[in-house]
Symmetry: C2
């Protein structure tokens, strides 16, 4: 339990970069064939004629790759109890074959649960970065996080 | 092009249900092993001891399955030009092995593009329904959609 992360460890303003993940054309196509078979994601020839000039990853694929970076970066060693949802997912730049992705997590707010003294809510901004340090995708989400020390008399 | 859907075909208040998709335990585990390997999504024994009482699909997996239902339901035969993002993703109920999912799409707003007469923006609410007609996931998104008849003098 030595490096396990609890509510108390997520300080507002705290920021960390995790990863990396290299994206292949085969992965982009395989994911999109199953979940988002639009030509821009599955057909390199059609994609080459599009305004993007080539194959780009599906938005839900990029979200999924970001989730894996979050898991490996901190979530799997945290006291996370899940998320009620996600806000403001913004697709800012395309993700292309060969891109190398990392995730930057910034804590924007946190509060203890009013009803459950053993829990807190951490609000974080997650930005998916490529190898040029460009933000390709951003989103805000809340995570319910167990506390190391339950609130006494709060 | 007979049944191709354009901006003009998405009327505010318009609503349609598309699908269906049956979710298997194997799919839940396979997706989560790649993108969200938290015990609740990959380990049936650990999940059985959790508050959910069993394995549940990763949130990004549910979003991905919804995207596929959207593609097959209307997007692949529409003049969609992509989305700038998603808002208010809410995980309302768990998605479990054996669930049968459909998507309900409701047009909440639309407007012609001010700068590009051949395009419009359709704002839609998408709800993922299970076999009990419960909403398990909802989100709001905007899609840029080509117009059948470009605006003249607007």
């Amino acid at each position: 339990m030595g490096d396990r992360l609890y509510f108390e460890d997520f300080e507002v303003g705290g920021c960390a970069v995790h990863g990396e993940k290299t994206v292949s054309e085969a992965e982009i196509i395989a994911f999109a064939r199953e979940f988002d078979p639009q030509p821009i994601h599955v057909d390199p020839a059609a994609a080459a004629l599009s305004p993007f000039g080539g194959l780009i990853a599906s938005g839900v694929h990029s979200c999924s790759m970001m989730m894996r970076l979050m898991c490996d970066g901190y979530m799997l060693r945290s006291a996370s109890r899940g998320s009620p949802g996600i806000d403001e997912v913004r697709y800012l730049l395309p993700v292309r074959p060969g891109d190398v992705l990392r995730v930057r997590m910034t804590v924007v707010d946190r509060r203890r649960s009013a009803s459950r003294p053993e829990m807190g809510i951490v609000q974080a901004r997650h930005e998916l970065l490529n190898q040029k340090d460009e933000v390709v995708l951003e989103m805000t989400s809340k995570v319910m996080m167990g506390c190391r020390v339950p609130e006494a008399g709060a």
